[in-house]
């Protein structure tokens, strides 16, 4: 069996360029790995073997006639199952949509297709992205590649696990409040949630329209930059995409970070944070100091308020977005919604209903203003902010059933920046052995910046990654 599946996007691009191997060989190694490993991980909703083979062949032909489309041409990419892909079943891991074949491509899918990417498969997620574990997928739970008794995080858990287990070269996720960063953290990979409006939501099955942000999950920072470069930009099909020109996400990599002011918010290091997580972040702080960055302790609004704001805003928007699922034009009838979707729609209906709107929805939108102002204030004194991505390492399966707001509690440290529309990058920064576990699990650090500061957070993340080797660690995979 080959080993091309272990390479990064930029390594594959280089090898294809130098004709060390072909796109077909890369795909073959990824498929072999997937068939061997996925029966115990369940990261994929579906492997798109036939189509991917045709796409890889087309990529090789383009290369032969020197008509390469981009650095992603011929590179296998897995796509979260909430992105519409023309005539490929797209379910958002919900029974409700188990018979849905979109007649069009999401903009993210179209851009990747035009760049020559090979779509290796659709990945599992919490149904409609309502969760942080993949346990609320209506089909099955994805396992964490580092310990199959544990969760990969979510909602983009399948995309994160597929990358961590080398079943694809890169993947696409979407984040509403943590759904890229948190699974990347729990699965030990890199994940970039761009600024709200940097990447088009057109064709992404809507969850929380005022925060949904598609983004890459990859093996290193350069790969995330490469994929963002393909995805970023204004889209006439999504009027919330920004007219701001995109950055040069590759030129910023490798620039020194001497003198960069990094904020350390004390409210993000509370008692609920696992000791091993805190230790790993403090080691990262020492690394940043060595690289010449200036560490500044700052104070932010207690993240507990963001949980409440997010819960209200997200449920309200979900109740509106899922109202379109009536079973008349596509999908099944509303009785086929899973419990989590029903629960969220009803809470949102309540917080938007007459008599409760002011107390809940309006109040939440006001506190959202306070969160935005709070970050703006902080960015007057620091350039970026770092914190743990998750208060804990990956939890055992079953954990999400303990509370009705499990996802919100797991995402406490990513919700504030999501509500403010800020970009955030998760990078692996160490390992911590959970109390009841036998394997040390990955710890993730998030780097947040002001809106449209993707270049800066990529620069800081890349500098950290180059000074450490956490991103090169691979899980010991077992096959069933």
């Amino acid at each position: 069996m080959g080993t091309l599946q272990t390479l990064t996007v930029h390594e594959i691009a280089e090898g294809l360029e130098q004709k060390t191997f072909s796109a077909r060989e890369v795909l073959q190694d990824c498929l072999e790995q997937s068939k061997k490993i996925d029966p115990s991980l369940h990261a994929y909703m579906e492997l798109l073997e036939e189509q991917a083979a045709a796409q890889a062949e087309a990529a090789d032909e383009r290369r032969a006639r020197k008509a390469v489309l981009s650095s992603l041409d011929g590179v296998p990419i897995a796509v979260k199952d909430n992105f519409c892909m023309q005539d490929v079943r797209t379910t958002a891991s919900s029974r409700m949509l188990d018979n849905y074949y979109p007649p069009y491509d999401a903009t993210v899918v179209r851009l990747l297709r035009e760049a020559g990417a090979v779509f290796i498969g659709k990945t599992n997620m919490d149904a409609f992205a309502h969760g942080s574990s993949t346990e609320t997928s209506d089909f099955f739970t994805t396992s964490n590649p580092w310990d199959i008794g544990r969760l990969p995080g979510g909602s983009s858990g399948g995309s994160a696990a597929a990358v961590a287990a080398d079943m694809t070269i890169g993947s696409i996720g979407s984040e509403t409040a943590g759904s890229i960063r948190q699974p990347a953290s729990w699965s030990g990979v890199t994940g970039l949630k761009p600024t709200y409006g940097r990447v088009s939501r057109y064709g992404l099955i809507s969850m929380c329209s005022s925060t949904d942000s598609p983004g890459p999950i990859t093996k290193d920072v350069r790969d995330s930059a490469l994929i963002l470069d393909i995805l970023a930009g204004q889209d006439p099909h999504d009027s919330t995409t920004s007219p701001q020109p995109k950055g040069d996400y590759l030129a910023c990599l490798g620039k020194p970070i001497k003198g960069v002011k990094i904020g350390l918010p004390k409210e993000y290091f509370v008692d609920e944070i696992e000791a091993g997580v805190k230790d790993a972040i403090m080691q990262a702080v020492a690394t940043f100091k060595k690289l010449g960055a200036e560490i500044v302790e700052i104070s932010l609004l207690d993240p507990k308020y963001s949980i409440a704001v997010y819960t209200i805003v997200q449920r309200s928007e979900v109740s509106s977005n899922l109202a379109r699922l009536d079973g008349n034009r596509f999908g099944h009838k509303r009785t086929d919604f899973g419990d989590e979707a029903k629960n969220r729609v009803m809470l949102g209906t309540y917080t938007l209903s007459a008599g409760y709107y002011d107390a809940y929805y309006k109040k939440a939108q006001q506190v959202r203003t306070l969160i935005v102002d709070d970050f703006n204030q902080a960015f007057k004194t620091v350039d970026v902010i770092i914190a743990p991505t998750s208060p804990v390492v990956a939890l055992p399966k079953g954990a999400s059933e303990e509370t009705a707001i499990f996802g919100e509690l797991m995402d406490v440290l990513v919700e504030p920046s999501s509500m403010a529309g800020l970009p955030g990058l998760n990078v692996p920064c160490g390992f911590s052995k959970p109390k009841n576990g036998s394997v040390a699990m990955p710890v993730g650090m998030q780097i947040m910046g002001p809106q449209f500061s993707e270049e800066l957070i990529l620069q800081v993340g890349y500098a950290f990654e180059q000074a450490t080797d956490w991103h090169t660690k691979k899980p010991q995979l077992s096959q069933e």
């Binding site: 007649p103 709200y196 509303r334 009803m346």
Partner: protein, 101 residues
């Protein structure tokens, strides 16, 4: 707050949300919704008098495009996922019941 959400309230919310729930489901969601509502009460700790609301974070307002015809889905594509069609239309169940009127 907890006792304000009765099973009747849950049934009313379900009706507003076009969800048909069994009695057992009403009971289950009463517990879940109460837990979530108890949690979101934390916002009342913050003073928001005079604070404007934020619904769009990047500050975009009033975006326009040229009023030009564009290509769209074909009728066949638009109907390809419909469970029932009639002469090129979506076939849906009656929304209003004459006997109620």
């Amino acid at each position: 707050m907890a006792d304000r959400l009765t099973t009747e309230d849950v049934a009313r919310i379900a009706r507003l949300a076009a969800m048909q729930l069994t009695a057992a489901e009403v009971k289950k969601f009463q517990g879940w919704l109460t837990e979530a509502i108890d949690y979101i009460e934390v916002l009342q700790e913050l003073d928001t008098a005079g604070v404007i609301v934020t619904s769009q974070v990047t500050g975009l307002v009033n975006l326009w495009r040229q009023d030009q015809t564009q290509s769209s889905l074909t009728q066949k594509q638009a109907l390809q996922n419909a469970p029932a069609t009639y002469k090129g239309y979506f076939k849906v169940e009656a929304v209003f019941d004459r006997s109620e009127g």
